[in-house]
C-alpha cells in the first residue's frame, strides 16, 4: 500500500503547485456540510433548467417502474443520501444526467403503447439508400465469418460498455480538475436526448428487414439479437439471444444509434485530452460503426445521427463548461487553477486585442473553492472581523460566467498563483481548510 502511495506521489503529485487544492477529493462524510452549501448556493437559470429536466425524467421513470413501491422508495432514499454525503455527492451530482438516462432507458419500455407513436419500418432503409447509395448494413452483412463475428462483437458487446468508464478515469487523472463534470453532463444528456428521440420516433433496425421485410411492425413484436446470435453459437451459451429478444428496453430504437453516440462522445473527449492519439481513437469509432452494421443492429444513417448528436452536445459543452486544458501539464494535480472556456477566445478571425489566456486565472473566492467535484470542506472568512465560518458552495458546471469575476495575474505551474495572487491584487480571499492547520481532507 505504501508503495502505491509513493508511486502516486512520485508520478501524480510531483508537479503539484504549493498550496493548490483544486485537484483534491472531498473525503468528508458529514451531510450537514452539503446542506450548508445548498443553503448558501444561488442557483442560476441553467442550473434550474438542468435539475428540473433531470427531476422530470427521474419522476417519469419512478412511475413507469413496476417494482414494489417500497423498493422504489428505498432506491430513491439511497440516491438522495448519495447526494447529501459530500464524498459521494461529488460524483453523483455530476453523474446524475447519466443516471437519468439509464433510468429512463430501462423504464421507457413500460410506456403504454397507446401513447406511443407509430413504428416506422421504411424511413431508415429508404433514407440510407437515398443519401448513401445503398443499405450499407446489408452491404457489410452480405458475407459473414466467425472471425468477423468476433471482431464485430469486441467493440459492440464488450469495449462499448467499459470504454466510457475508462474515458472517465483518463479525464479524471489527466484532464484539468472539473473536466469530469463536463463528461458526465455531455455523456448523460447525449444519451438522454437519444432515448427520447428513440421513443418519439420508433424505427426498425436492419435485422427487422431481414426477418420481416417491409411488413408493418407493432409493439408486441419481439426484438432480435441480429448478428449477435452467432456469438451465442460461438460461445456456446445464451448471452444475447434472450436479452435482445425478450428483455430489450427499446426494441424499435434504431434511430439514433447510442452505440455510435457513446463511442463518439468518448472519442471527442479523448481527442481533446490526447490529440496525438486521435487517429487511433478515430479508428475505434470506425471499427464500432462497422460492427453495428455488420451485426445488423443499425443503419449507417443511425450511426451518423448518433455521432452528430454527440458532436453537437460536445461542442456545446466544450465552449461552455469544459475547462481549458494545458498540454504542458502532466496530470490533474499539476493545475493550480482552472480557466473557464470562452467561446470568443477561440475565434481565429477575431480582430479584438488578444487576451492572454495563459494568464487568465480563475481566481474568485468561488473558484478557489472549486476543488474537483465539491471537494473539501471549505471554511472561509468573508471578512477579517467576522469570526463566523461559512461553507462556500462549489462552482457548478452550470455556473453563469458573469458570476465569476476574473482576474489577470501571473499563473505559474509552480507558484501558489490562485491563492497568493489574491493577496497581491486585494481580492477577497478564502483559505480552504487544508491550508490551515488541522485540515483533514487532503488526499495526500
Amino acid at each position: 500500500m505504501s508503495f502505491l502511495i509513493k508511486l502516486f506521489q512520485s508520478y501524480f503529485l510531483d508537479e503539484r503547485p504549493n498550496g493548490a487544492v483544486i485537484a483534491d477529493i472531498d473525503l468528508n462524510l458529514n451531510p450537514k456540510i452539503t446542506v450548508e452549501r445548498l443553503k448558501n448556493h444561488k442557483f442560476t437559470k441553467y442550473e434550474v433548467l438542468n435539475y428540473s429536466t433531470l427531476a422530470f425524467f427521474f419522476t417519469i421513470s419512478f412511475f413507469l417502474n413496476q417494482l414494489n413501491i417500497f423498493i422504489k422508495l428505498g432506491i430513491v432514499s439511497l440516491y438522495i443520501t448519495s447526494l447529501l454525503i459530500p464524498f459521494t455527492s461529488q460524483f453523483f451530482i455530476y453523474g446524475s444526467p447519466v443516471l437519468a438516462w439509464v433510468a429512463f432507458l430501462f423504464n421507457s419500455k413500460n410506456l403504454d403503447a397507446a401513447f406511443r407513436p407509430p413504428i416506422s419500418v421504411k424511413v431508415l432503409p429508404a433514407i440510407e439508400t437515398i443519401l448513401y447509395g445503398d443499405n450499407l448494413s446489408q452491404l457489410l452483412a452480405t458475407s459473414t465469418a466467425p472471425i468477423l463475428d468476433i471482431l464485430a462483437w469486441l467493440p459492440y458487446g464488450l469495449i462499448h460498455f467499459s470504454f466510457p468508464f475508462v474515458t472517465a478515469a483518463l479525464i479524471f487523472l489527466w484532464g484539468p480538475p472539473t473536466a469530469l463534470r463536463s463528461f458526465g453532463f455531455a455523456f448523460g444528456y447525449m444519451n438522454l436526448i437519444g432515448v427520447v428521440t428513440q421513443v418519439l420516433f420508433p424505427a426498425a433496425a436492419p435485422w427487422y428487414k431481414i426477418l420481416h421485410g417491409l411488413d408493418p411492425a407493432n409493439y408486441s413484436m419481439l426484438g432480435s439479437p441480429g448478428g449477435l446470435a452467432r456469438i451465442d453459437e460461438i460461445l456456446g451459451f445464451d448471452m444475447y439471444t434472450t436479452a435482445f429478444s425478450k428483455t430489450s428496453p427499446v426494441v424499435f430504437g434504431a434511430f439514433p444509434s447510442l452505440h455510435s453516440g457513446s463511442a463518439s462522445m468518448d472519442a471527442l473527449f479523448l481527442f481533446w485530452l490526447f490529440p496525438k492519439a486521435s487517429p487511433i481513437i478515430l479508428l475505434y469509432v470506425i471499427w464500432l460503426w462497422w460492427s453495428t452494421m455488420y451485426l445488423t443492429h443499425h443503419y449507417f444513417f443511425d450511426l451518423i445521427a448518433g455521432s452528430f448528436l454527440s458532436f453537437v452536445v460536445f461542442q456545446f459543452t466544450k465552449y461552455n463548461y469544459l475547462p481549458v486544458i494545458n498540454y504542458n501539464y502532466k496530470n490533474r494535480w499539476s493545475y493550480g487553477s482552472i480557466i473557464k472556456p470562452n467561446i470568443w477566445n477561440s475565434d481565429p478571425l477575431s480582430l479584438s486585442p488578444e487576451i492572454d489566456v495563459e494568464n487568465q486565472v480563475f481566481s474568485s473566492q468561488r473558484a478557489i473553492n472549486n476543488v474537483e467535484l465539491n471537494v473539501i470542506q471549505r471554511q472561509s472568512r468573508s471578512n477579517i472581523f467576522d469570526d463566523s465560518e461559512i461553507t462556500s458552495p462549489a462552482l457548478s458546471v452550470f455556473e453563469n460566467d458573469s458570476e465569476v469575476p476574473r482576474s489577470f495575474s501571473r499563473a505559474s505551474n509552480n507558484s501558489q498563483t490562485s491563492i497568493e495572487s489574491q493577496f497581491d491584487m486585494s481580492i477577497p480571499v478564502s483559505a480552504s481548510s487544508n491550508l490551515q492547520p488541522g485540515g483533514k481532507s487532503r488526499l495526500d
Binding site: A126, L131, L214, A217, S220, W290, F308, V312, W344
Partner: protein, 200 residues
C-alpha cells in the same frame, strides 16, 4: 456570424461543426467500398459516390484539424469541393431515390388478424422520408453559405492583417522537395483560389 441571425457565434464554431458533419458523412465511402470484400454488387453510380466521398475526406480533415489556424488556400479548395458536393448530391439523391422507390419499396400485404394500430401508414413513412431528405438538403445549402461567408471573412481578415498568404505558403512548401501529391495539392489550392477570386 450568427446562427439563423439569432444566436451570435464566433466564425469558427459553425465551420468546425460543418466540417465535422462532412467528415462523418464522407466516411460512408469507406464502408461502401468494403463491398469489394463482401461481394455485394455495386453499380457505376454507387462506385462514383463512394470513391468521390473518400477523395473529399482528406480536405475536410485538413480543414478541421487546422481550424484554429485557417488558411485561405485550404479553405478555397474546401469551399469549392463542398459546393460541388452540394450540387452533385442533388443528382445522387434523385438517382438513388428512384432506385429505392422503383426497386426496393414494396407495399406490404395486410394480413387478417394482425394488429396494425401502431404501424406506420404509407403516408407517415413517405412523409418522413420526404421531410428528412428535404431538411438535410436544405441544411447542406445553408452550410454551404456559411462556408462561403467564412471564406470571405478569411480573405478580409488576411487583408487587414497584411498577410501575403500566397507568398508565405509558397515559400513554406518549397515544392521541389515535396512528394508529387503535395505538389498537386498545392496546384489545386492555387487554382481554386484563383477561380474564387475571379468568381466572387
Amino acid at each position: 456570424m450568427s446562427f439563423l441571425n439569432q444566436i451570435p457565434l464566433p466564425n469558427v464554431c459553425p465551420v468546425e461543426l460543418i466540417l465535422g458533419i462532412a467528415i462523418l458523412n464522407k466516411l460512408s465511402g469507406l464502408f461502401g467500398i468494403l463491398s469489394i470484400f463482401t461481394g455485394h454488387p455495386l453499380d457505376f453510380i454507387q462506385w462514383l459516390l463512394y470513391i468521390t466521398s473518400l477523395l473529399m475526406l482528406p480536405y475536410y480533415f485538413l480543414g478541421a484539424s487546422n481550424i484554429r489556424n485557417p488558411k485561405i488556400l485550404e479553405h478555397s479548395v474546401i469551399l469549392i469541393i463542398y459546393s460541388i458536393d452540394t450540387l452533385t448530391s442533388l443528382g445522387f439523391i434523385l438517382w438513388f431515390a428512384g432506385e429505392w422507390f422503383i426497386n426496393e419499396d414494396v407495399t406490404a400485404e395486410i394480413k387478417p388478424g394482425e394488429d396494425y394500430s401502431k404501424s406506420a401508414s404509407q403516408n407517415y413513412e413517405y412523409g418522413w422520408i420526404f421531410l428528412m431528405t428535404f431538411v438535410i438538403n436544405l441544411s447542406r445549402f445553408y452550410f454551404n453559405f456559411i462556408l462561403l461567408s467564412f471564406y470571405i471573412k478569411l480573405i478580409k481578415f488576411n487583408k487587414i492583417q497584411g498577410i501575403d498568404y500566397l507568398k508565405i505558403e509558397g515559400d513554406e512548401l518549397n515544392l521541389k522537395n515535396k512528394y508529387f501529391w503535395q505538389r498537386w495539392n498545392y496546384k489545386i489550392q492555387i487554382e481554386s483560389y484563383k477561380f474564387l477570386e475571379r468568381t466572387l
